[in-house]
């Protein structure tokens, strides 16, 4: 009895001091990231790979190390796009815009056919990306949306601040955005889970939304999406297919990244309870029955910690016929894995309904598996009018062009 009283008193003191601490200083609710780092990995040295934020001249890019199937060739198309990620182009492809993360820049690349010139269009932004839509250029930072009107021949002048209309939540982690303009004239915008593994602090995360161009008509079209870094619309069905990163700190072999297909708005893709093809989360789904109930399973898993990024359905005519309608996916490469994985571009061949998916390496050589090192990180893809394919390398700030010739 006495002991109980003491324990209760101690507990209430503790509760009071916790309350007092909270009153002074209100930290975000505690989905502590390390929650996902189990005891047996507590001395792990795995950590994110450092990016490179200085310019790499073409002479220092080991392009000859890249390997492609017979008949394909890679060349350096642009350099000086330091930290460059997703690419978006105007209709005649004379202008390209490329966003970054830490650098805070948006580049405008002028393509005159033979050569490319790179300038900084916007700077000092928090992890900006760009999307060309309906004659205007939209720049999405984590905390800001800007619109450059009349950008068909290049963006210039003061952009219109559209931030208020888009209702962006404040957390930064996993909230760099890949944005696409759909055939329905809407902007597709993801909001990642702001942690490795947690119940998101509010309902504004772990989802994909779409908006009208002016920010109105906000609609959540997919939930349970941890961290999608790229998507494309299927050339036949028009459905949205998207990549998604699996959680970290569950060991070298998974849960694997995903390639998903949104067959109808409102589908749930499992995060935080259900990963890959039905792996129940050991941290947050403990004791939860039916963690995978009503969860849409991926078209295919994409490899452990692979960091699946950009996705591009091939619709050109330059590549051989078997590449028609095939999905190209860039895998930027792992950090949370003892042996590096990914660092390549793969093709995914699947039925229009996503069935029977087969993943095949297409562009390799960015990584040296023996030494467990890498020199480049393929991030995003874009198709040129002649049917060649562009690949951005975020590590070296370069863009490569892949072409095909029978000879």
């Amino acid at each position: 009895m006495k002991k109980t009283a003491f324990t209760l008193a101690a507990a209430s003191v503790l509760a009071l001091s916790v309350q007092a601490a909270l009153a002074q200083d209100k930290p975000a609710p505690p989905p502590i990231w390390k929650q996902g780092q189990p005891e047996n990995l507590k001395d792990s040295k795995l950590a994110p790979n450092p990016g490179k934020n200085t310019e790499t001249p073409a002479s220092e890019i080991p392009i000859d190390k890249l390997k492609l199937p017979k008949g394909f060739k890679a060349e350096i198309w642009a350099t000086g796009v330091v930290g460059g990620r997703a690419m978006t182009m105007n209709d005649d492809q004379t202008k390209m815009w490329v966003g970054t993360r830490g650098m805070g820049r948006v580049y405008e690349v002028t393509n005159d056919g033979d050569k490319r010139t790179v300038k900084v269009l916007a700077e000092k932004l928090t992890q900006p990306t760009a999307v060309y839509a309906n004659g205007a250029l939209y720049v999405f930072a984590i905390d800001k949306v800007l619109r450059y009107d009349n950008a068909a021949k290049g963006a210039s002048g003061q952009p219109v601040d559209m931030t208020k209309a888009f209702d962006l939540p404040p957390e930064q982690h996993h909230n760099w955005k890949y944005v696409r303009f759909g055939a329905d004239k809407k902007l597709y915008v993801p909001f990642g889970a702001p942690c490795n593994i947690c119940e998101p602090p509010t309902k504004e995360y772990a989802q994909i939304r779409r908006y009208n161009l002016d920010g109105s008509g906000k609609e959540v079209i997919a939930t349970g999406v941890r961290n999608t870094q790229g998507f494309d619309f299927h050339p036949k069905t028009g459905e949205l297919w998207f990549t998604d990163h699996g959680r970290d700190w569950l060991g070298d072999n998974g849960p694997e990244d995903e390639l998903n297909r949104l067959a109808k708005p409102g589908q749930n893709f499992g995060y935080p309870y259900c990963h890959a093809k039905g792996i129940v989360d050991p941290d947050v789904a403990k004791g939860k029955k039916d963690a995978c109930k009503d969860v849409t399973m991926p078209v295919t898993t994409m490899g452990p910690h692979a960091a699946v990024m950009g996705l591009q359905f091939y619709t050109g005519t330059m590549f051989p016929k078997e590449y028609q309608g095939v999905a190209f996916v860039a895998r930027k490469g792992s950090w949370n894995r003892t042996k590096r994985f990914g660092y390549d571009v793969v093709t995914v061949k699947a039925g229009d309904d996503g069935k029977g998916a087969k993943v095949t390496p297409f562009m390799t050589g960015f990584m040296d598996p023996k030494a467990n090192t890498f020199w480049g990180r393929p991030a995003y893809l874009a198709q040129l009018k002649d049917g060649s394919l562009l690949v951005s390398d975020e590590q070296l700030g370069a863009i490569y062009r892949i072409s095909y010739s029978k000879k």
Partner: protein, 189 residues
């Protein structure tokens, strides 16, 4: 533009240069004015930069030049400075030796900081002795008040340009714990 940049360096060098720093190239002298000739800062709120990992310094310098990180004075100083100069500065300071705080240690606070660091697995990225590696800064021997302030800025999403994983790592940690962590790290060699 190029001329203006050189001019600014020269002016700062002239302001801060002393006999002891006479051999240090002009550009380094400007850094030494605040961060100490040996890269160990004696000014509150100004970080020590000696023995910081090269990539961390390089990233910081680029982000400051880009105007996304660091105080206005750093951004102004670095505006327009080319990559190759930033790389040279990073290499230089990464090779200097770090000095530990000589201020009195509060053993209780030190122990608490040690526990909090272990619980949050800070060593997973910042290394066992907290000397940092690659893009992840050295914490050992850093100025106490600077560490406490940076931790808070990270948690409040006010420190852009880095990997946001650090922001997420600090969710839910109260400011009092940051003070203990800062006290502990600053006393390490």
């Amino acid at each position: 533009m190029r001329f203006a940049v050189e001019g600014r360096w020269a002016l700062l060098a002239a302001l801060f240069i002393s006999a002891a720093q006479a051999q240090v190239p002009d550009k380094l002298a400007a850094c030494a004015g605040c961060h100490g000739a040996d890269g160990n800062s004696a000014i509150a709120g100004t970080p020590s930069i000696a023995a910081q990992p090269r990539i961390f310094l390089e990233n910081y310098l680029v982000m400051s030049r880009e105007g996304v990180r660091g105080p206005a004075v750093m951004q102004a100083l670095l505006k327009g400075v080319p990559d190759k100069d930033l790389i040279a500065l990073a290499v230089h300071f990464s090779k200097l030796k770090s000095k530990t705080s000589e201020e009195k240690t509060d053993q209780k606070l030190f122990n608490r900081g040690k526990e909090i660091a272990a619980k949050n697995r800070c060593a997973s990225c910042h290394e066992k002795n907290y000397q940092g590696r690659e893009q992840m800064p050295r914490l050992a021997g850093q100025r106490e008040e600077f560490l406490a302030e940076m931790l808070l800025q990270y948690r409040q999403n006010k420190r852009p340009g880095g990997d946001t994983m650090m922001n997420a790592t600090l969710y839910g940690i109260p400011e009092a714990d940051f003070k203990a962590l800062a006290h502990y790290f600053s006393r390490l060699k």
